[in-house]
Every structure is written in C-alpha cells, then in structure tokens.
Subunit: 333 residues, 2 copies
DNA sequence: CTGAAAGCGCTAACAC
DNA sequence: GTGTTAGCGCTTTCAG
C-alpha cells in the first residue's frame, strides 16, 4: 500500500480512503481517486486482511461451527453456506466440533479470536450451556441454523419440524397404516421435535407406536429397523427422523427380504440428494436449505438488530412433503 | 497481553517468549515463566492470531480449495482434512471453486492473502494453467490431493487409479463379463486415469467396450446407464468411475426393471459411506482417504523439503477392491 | 479535500 | 534472563 501511495504521489491515508471504497464522510477528488485505483491495479495491490482485522475493520470471514460434518445433510448445508457467503465476498472458516460440545466452545473461542465478522452454528448445540452463555456475551452477530425449534437466547432459523412430521404421518395414515414406528437419533434439536410430533400424532392409539433410538448414520438406521422387525408385531410403516436413517433402514429391509413399499413403507426427513436415488426412491420431507441459509446470513449481515425489545428472531420455515416410491398402501392384515 | 505483562510485573516481550512456548534461543527463569502462565490464565488471555500473522508468525490456518464441494466424496475428504488439521491445532479455511477453475485462482489469492500456513487442493485443478503457474511462485507449502496421477509441478498425493480400475475389471472378467461399459464424468484428474485403465484393459477386444460421459452426479449416472441400455447390445457389466455415478446407475437399473447383479453388474469407485448401504451393496474400490490426507498434511507441515533436486514428491497410495453384492456372474447369453 | 501520526496486538532484534 | 524498541499493513482521528 505504501508503494501505491508513493507511485501516486499521495499519502497512505488517501490510498486507504480510496481503496476502502466505503462512503467516507470525507469525499475525495475524482482524479486522485482514479490515479490511486490505477496505480493499485498496476502494482497488483491486494489488501492484507490481517492488518485490516487488526485495526478493527471487517475480516470478511464467516465462522461456521458444525457439530457433525460427517452428516450428509450438514455437508450440504455447509455447501450452501459457502456458496451464499462467497456471494457476499466472505470466506468460510470451518470449525468441526466432532460431535463434542466442548469442542464447539473451543472453536467458538478460536473463531472469535480470529475476528470473524459473524458466526453460523449448524445443528443443535444447546446441550452445552456454557456455549450459549459465552455466545450471549459475544460482540459479533451469530445465528443458529437447525437448532431445533425450541428457541434459545440466540437468533436462529429453524424449520417447522412438527408440520413436516405431521405431513408424513397423515400421508401414512391415509395409506392405511396404523402400526407406525419412529426411528430417532440422539434426542437433540430437530430430531427431538420430530419425535414429539410423532408422539403427538400417535397419542390416540399409543399401542401402535414404537420408537427406536440409534446413532444418526446408515448403520444406526439399519440396526433400528432390525430391532423393529424382531418385535412380535412389527410396524407396517417406519418414519425415520432423517434420510440417512431411512436409507439405512431401506437397506436392512432389503437384506431381510422385505419389499418396500409392499411389505413396509419407509419415510425420511431432509431430502438429501441420495433420497431421490434410493431404491425405491424415498418419500421424505424437503428441507429448504438454501432459503434457510440465506435467511440466516441476512440476519447476521444485513440486519444487526440485536438488542431489540422482542428478543432474538426465530423464523420458522415450512418444509414440504415429497411423495416418492418408498411409501404405499398398508398391507391388508 | 499488556495486561498480563503488567499483572506479572515483567515486560511484554517476556510474556511473548513464555506464551509462544517455542524453544526460544534464550531461556527464561522457571518462576517467571510460571507467574506469567498463571497470570495469563487468570486474565483469560487469548492470543490474537491476526496480530501474530501480521508479524510474520504462523497463522495456524490451513487453506483448502475444493473444486466441487457437492461431491459426497470430497465432502468426506474435507471432513478428513478438518479432523487431521484440528489435531495439529489448525483451523480450516474453506474455499469452494464451484467447479470453475478461475474461481480457484481467486480463492488462491484470497488464501495467500490470509497468510494461510499451507494450502490443500482437493481434486484436479490442472486445467487452469494460471493456477499452477501462480502456485509455483508461491511461498507457502502446498499439496494437491486427488489431482490425478499425472504429476504436475506441485507436490501431490494420489491414488493408483489404474491399479484400482484394473482390479475391478479383473474381478468382472473373472465373473465371466465381456461386454463392459465405463461411465465417466468430466475427463479430469482421477476419472481420466480410470478411463485410461479401462481402455487399456479392453484393448484386446475393444468391440465389447463402451464409454459414456456424463456429469458426475446421481442423475448423470442414471442417464448414462439409460443410454447404455438402449444400445442394441447392452453391456452385462458397468464400471462407473465414481460411486455417485454407480449409485445413480443402480437406481436407473431398478426403474428399468433390471435386477442387479442377476441382469447387470455394477461397480463404483471411492467407497463413500452410501456405497455399503446401496441396494444391493456396491462393489467398489476403497479410497484410503484418511491416509492420503495424513500424508498430504505431513508433506506440507513436517517436511518442507521443497526445492529438492528430484522435484516435488508424488506418493501414490494403493486402493483396494471391496467385493459386495452389486456384482455377480455374467448371464449366460 | 489531503497529509501526518497514532496505534491495533504481537514478535524479534538488540541492548542491558 | 529480561527489558527496550521497532515495526508487520492497515485505518482513523486530527490538523492543515
């Protein structure tokens, strides 16, 4: 930058003012501006984000803390964040919590130290009270995506899990299913809300409901279905709390020789890309990922209306049922 | 940091020396060190990476440029990099090239400007000569993973695509298949090498070989299989160049009413998590992702032996065939 | 409208 | 062994 200043014959401050571009209270002579810009280009000047950040300006870094990067759903979410962020000229610093909430806290510290301009939390981190606490004392805007609709003290964007789950269950009921099972991962965030909706729906004939907990991966889904099928009166339909679980269940149904949807209906949640390519294609709930991410970034970047009276905003987007081949009429008993 | 110095009654430099921890040429009094550490902890001191980086020290940032973050295989790779990096205390800055090589260049500039301590390239970027050029003039260590085995001027870690593909084809041949098709994505990097191996293997009866190009996603795989099946003499086995393509093909086979592996054998490449849960489980080639990432990071961090005589290193890891249910004996004609 | 100067938080010569 | 000092590259008052 000094070079640019020298080459142009103006002072560094002027160069800074020009290059920062922002509406400095003080206007600059148009020709000076042009000369500076030209020289900067010629000299291949590139601002040093470190120095900028050090001085308190924006670092153009967006911190992302994800609980489980392994999860294909979150992998897609990270992609969406990355795309959306780059459109705003931001770079993404990825923090992986490896499923441990303490790590998320550490990460948080790291990202704050790195002067990220904003932080996005992917997935439910509320089981770690200290995180939320620290977050509250933070000066940089933050938004939690897919935190589960129970609102915490930080702004969040969530999906209406209840509506999605009820849509699935109504669909199943219309097909004549009564004995329906729910497969859930850890009772956390979105999954928890989906389970609650399931219990609510089945409240009038709870004897037909069963719930299996498992790890939220393909094997978990497979194992859960295995246990369900070993029951004396197995369900005729399985509503999995995520697509990954559903895909695992589909595979186990296959190895057990069950035909889907003739012998068993299976549904997922999220509509990850693989859902449409499952065999048979998975009936699931489509998550408006792009919209949720866009909404979240808008909240942290465009609308820093934090300490407003009504508390942090918690928009709730509506998912939609995607009807595909993995659900069919219940078998006549 | 000044606070810590004042609280301890020593100078800032001493604090720096203690906290940097590194083997400073100059030793420090044990009790001073302790007092400083204690005070730092008490005051909740956290170093400012920006200032550090500005001063020329390491930023503990690892830049990652990925061509296509959508690709589940690379999503897994990013995960591996993130895990491996965090074990070394590094944070990952993710740059997504959106499939465009020019973006990769821009990203490169950004990451360099951010003073990343090293850069990892995920996937083949060599179609953009300027990238490679710029890379050469760079001062920070860099490594390319899954670049395709044709070595460029930058250090890389690759997998032996030829060995993997030949293993697949031999397996298929042993099952009695002669009419074998290859489904490839863009003729880039690893995929290209796999195709070459395919052509090599089929060289003695090229009339039985067919090659379909498509986009490297689920739909691409499905469409390619569709075209293959419409041929007058369709193949009895399909070797897809990636698991994603294979999974897409599996789905199309299903919708076309073909039974795998009875009517058609299908193989993939990469062994992404979904491969094992496919219906039927996919015979594929396992990619040693963790090892490759670990090797790559070792190259950039532990062994900055750049300008050595023999040119940049290009270790080639060996993949292994995973035999599952999607391959079976060729149909008696 | 532009220049001079003071740091942001930290490290690394160089003294003592 | 420890303190002093000079910046890293930039933004930002405060004067001209």
């Amino acid at each position: 930058m000094r070079d640019v200043a020298e080459a142009t014959g103006v002072s560094q401050s002027t160069v800074s003012r020009v290059l920062t571009g922002a509406a400095t209270a003080v206007p600059i002579a148009p020709d000076t501006r042009e000369r500076v810009i030209e020289a900067a280009k010629r000299l291949g000047y590139r601002p040093n984000p470190l120095a900028r950040g050090l001085r308190g300006a924006r670092t153009m870094l967006l911190g992302v803390i994800v609980r489980e990067i392994t999860d294909p759903f979150f992998a897609g979410a990270i992609e969406a964040v990355s795309i959306e962020a780059s459109q705003r000229g931001y770079n993404v610093v990825l923090g992986h919590a490896h499923g441990h909430a303490e790590e998320a806290i550490a990460l948080w510290g790291v990202l704050e130290a790195r002067h990220c301009d904003a932080i996005v939390l992917l997935g439910d981190m509320r089981d770690q009270p200290r995180l939320i606490e620290d977050l509250h004392g933070a000066r940089i805007p933050i938004v939690a995506l897919w935190q589960g609709s129970r609102s915490a003290d930080i702004p969040s964007v969530d999906v209406d899990n209840r509506a999605g789950m009820l849509a699935v269950l109504r669909h199943l009921a219309e097909l004549g299913h009564r004995r329906i099972a729910f497969i859930g991962g850890r009772r956390l965030g979105d999954i928890r809300d989906r389970e609650d909706a399931f219990r609510e729906f089945m409240a009038d004939h709870p004897e037909d409901a069963s719930v299996e907990y498992t790890s939220n991966d393909l094997e978990g889904g497979a194992d859960a279905l295995g246990r369900l099928l070993d029951q004396p009166l197995p369900p005729t339909a399985v509503a999995a709390s995520t697509d990954v679980l559903a895909l695992g269940a589909l595979h186990r149904a296959y190895t057990r020789g069950l035909r889907v949807p003739d012998d068993l209906s299976v549904t997922g949640f999220d509509d990850i890309p693989f859902a449409a390519a499952a065999i048979p294609a998975l009936t699931t709930v489509r998550m408006p990922v792009r919209e949720m991410v866009a909404t979240g970034l808008r909240m942290v970047f465009d609308d820093p209306s934090d300490g407003s009276a009504a508390g942090p905003p918690h928009p709730l987007l509506i998912p939609s049922l995607v009807h595909r081949g993995s659900t069919g009429p219940a078998r006549r008993p």
